[in-house]
């Protein structure tokens, strides 16, 4: 009802009787004026309620002074939901590796060997991605995996945070080392998506480890030894990388149930 409750009805409601209780209570939830009027009616007509209110107030007065209060929030709520704090140590480690690669590049200004930053770039996010969803690196993993929200969306959310931290850092390091971002961006995305897709099959930590190892042994080491930029990172390969990303993305979505965490223990990474 758009108008307010009549005084008579309020009086009846305050003493425990009353008609139209449904509408009265629904209205009272919305209307501060009628609550004030109800307070007045209670004071007049229901001594039991008044006594109760006073009694609780007295009890509260003592408790409130002694009671610990919640301090103001350190971080807004959404920060906690997007980036659990366990990711940060691993991201820091990634940054250190990048800094080391950059340092070596700057020392080697004559470009005897290909830029380390370029070689490391595709696998740089993998440590953070592994930490986003693995029993060893995420301490609360058991609880996360058992929760309703577990699934591809949550994994992607955390992966996005990793990328948002790692990719700009790579871009900065690349700029300092004289490497263009176009060269490594697509391979980087392909490896991230590939780790997720492979992780659906064998567990994310293993997948990240396998891919990082394969890249190091198969591409970085030969490239350093032969002092040539690997074919896979040449501009001509870029369209293939783009195609790979698309294919992996489709495979990822097709098997997304794997990330809801209901798996037999063989592949369950603790």
């Amino acid at each position: 009802m758009n108008d307010h409750i009549t005084g008579a009805m309020l009086d009846q409601y305050s003493t425990g009787g009353g008609t139209a209780v449904w509408a009265v209570e629904a209205h009272l939830e919305r209307c501060a004026l009628c609550r004030e009027r109800l307070s007045a009616a209670v004071a007049k007509r229901s001594p039991a309620t008044t006594a109760l209110v006073a009694r609780v107030q007295a009890a509260l007065a003592g408790e409130v002074i002694r009671s610990p209060r919640m301090p103001a929030r350190r971080l807004p709520g959404w920060v906690c939901r997007w980036a659990p704090p366990e990711l940060w140590p691993w991201l820091t480690m990634t940054m250190l590796v990048l800094a080391a690669a950059l340092g070596l590049d700057l020392v080697d200004s004559t470009r005897v060997v290909p830029s380390l930053v370029l070689l490391v770039a595709p696998v740089a996010p993998l440590l953070g991605v592994a930490a986003a969803w693995s029993g060893g690196l995420d301490t609360a993993h058991e609880l996360v995996v058992a929760s309703p929200r577990a699934g591809l969306n949550l994994v992607l959310r955390r992966t996005l945070v990793v990328l948002l931290v790692v990719v700009p850092a790579l871009a900065a390091a690349g700029w300092l080392a004289g490497v263009s971002a176009a060269a490594w961006l697509l391979p980087c995305l392909a490896f991230t998506a590939g780790a997720l897709a492979l992780g659906e099959l064998i567990g994310l930590r293993r997948a990240a480890g396998v891919l990082a190892l394969a890249w190091t042994v198969g591409v970085i080491t030969p490239s350093m030894l032969s002092a040539r930029i690997p074919l896979l990172l040449e501009p001509v390969s870029l369209p293939y990388w783009a195609g790979l990303v698309a294919v992996i993305a489709v495979a990822l979505v097709a098997r997304r149930d794997a990330f809801t965490g209901w798996r037999s223990d063989k592949w369950f990474v603790r």
């Binding site: 629904a26 939830e29 009671s67 610990p68 919640m70 301090p71 971080l75 709520g77 906690c80 939901r81 659990p84 704090p85 366990e86 995420d138 301490t139 609360a140 993993h141 058991e142 609880l143 996360v144 995996v145 058992a146 929760s147 309703p148 929200r149 577990a150 699934g151 149930d257 809801t260 965490g261 209901w262 798996r263 037999s264 223990d265 063989k266 369950f268």
Partner: protein, 267 residues
């Protein structure tokens, strides 16, 4: 607050038992930790007892829908787990405290439990009230805004219980919840368990026979992945017969008597 009630909510329950396992076999590592288990549980507090390696944790993990069974059937709230099913609705009704309770050390207790509440897809407006209620129920009100890393072992465990009950689940799984609690806290915990048992199906896995005897409405003994006894605590104590065997209390004597008989039978 006024809300709408869906038709689905008032449909009559189509299941007899809240948790029902038939011929359940679950692998843990290389061996079959749960090996042909038949178990039915309804509302109340069920104490899960058994020696180390009996498969208690594996059973709890499979009910928490973390581990997929290798064979057999597991039915929770009338839904049989299997194939490609959407576990989200079911998981919203489950609360779980793992044996190795991992948490985010940098978070305050309130932030951590709020994060878990968000993971459990609780409506955002309800989260602060539910978190405060859970913290009050486990008795950690004055530590609510301290960081998790500053808490003692017993408090961490109680925070774990709080995150399990924050969404007022219908199925509550507690794996070794009393580890690290002093006797006074254990008493409070037992009172909380009895309160929860009035309308929730609680499964408590523990080594302490006394906890089970005091707070549980039902005792489940498993060994080597199979059920060897299920009954009320009085039956457990009665199983000792008149022998004064090992154990300081009737429940402990009953427990060792049953275990001994079972081993003799298996041998």
């Amino acid at each position: 607050m006024v809300r709408t009630v869906s038709t689905a909510e008032t449909e009559p329950a189509n299941y007899g038992w809240v948790i029902q396992a038939q011929g359940l076999r679950v692998r843990a590592g290389r061996r079959m930790a749960v090996d042909g288990l038949d178990l039915s549980m309804d509302t109340g507090v069920h104490g899960l007892l058994g020696p180390n390696g009996a498969g208690k944790t594996t059973l709890i993990r499979s009910i928490a829908t973390v581990l997929r069974p290798a064979a057999g059937s597991l039915t929770l709230l009338g839904q049989t787990l299997g194939g490609r099913m959407d576990l989200r609705g079911l998981r919203r009704q489950i609360g779980y405290l793992p044996q190795e309770f991992g948490f985010y050390r940098q978070f305050t207790m309130r932030e951590f439990i709020e994060y878990i509440a968000w993971l459990k897809e609780m409506p955002t407006a309800e989260i602060p009230g539910a978190v405060q209620r859970a913290i009050d129920r486990v008795g950690l009100t004055d530590r609510a805004d301290h960081r998790m890393k500053t808490l003692s072992g017993g408090m961490v465990r109680r925070a774990g219980i709080a995150q399990a009950i924050v969404n007022d689940p219908q199925i509550l799984l507690l794996d070794e919840p009393t580890a690290g609690l002093d006797p006074d806290q254990r008493l409070q915990f037992r009172a909380l368990l009895r309160e929860l048992g009035t309308d929730t199906c609680v499964l408590v896995s523990t080594h302490l026979v006394e906890d089970v005897a005091a707070a549980c409405t039902d005792v489940v003994l498993i060994n080597a992945g199979r059920l060897i006894f299920q009954g009320v605590p009085a039956d457990l104590a009665a199983a000792a017969g008149d022998k004064t065997g090992d154990g300081d209390s009737a429940a402990e004597r009953g427990y060792s008597a049953i275990m001994r008989r079972h081993r003799e039978k298996e041998a």
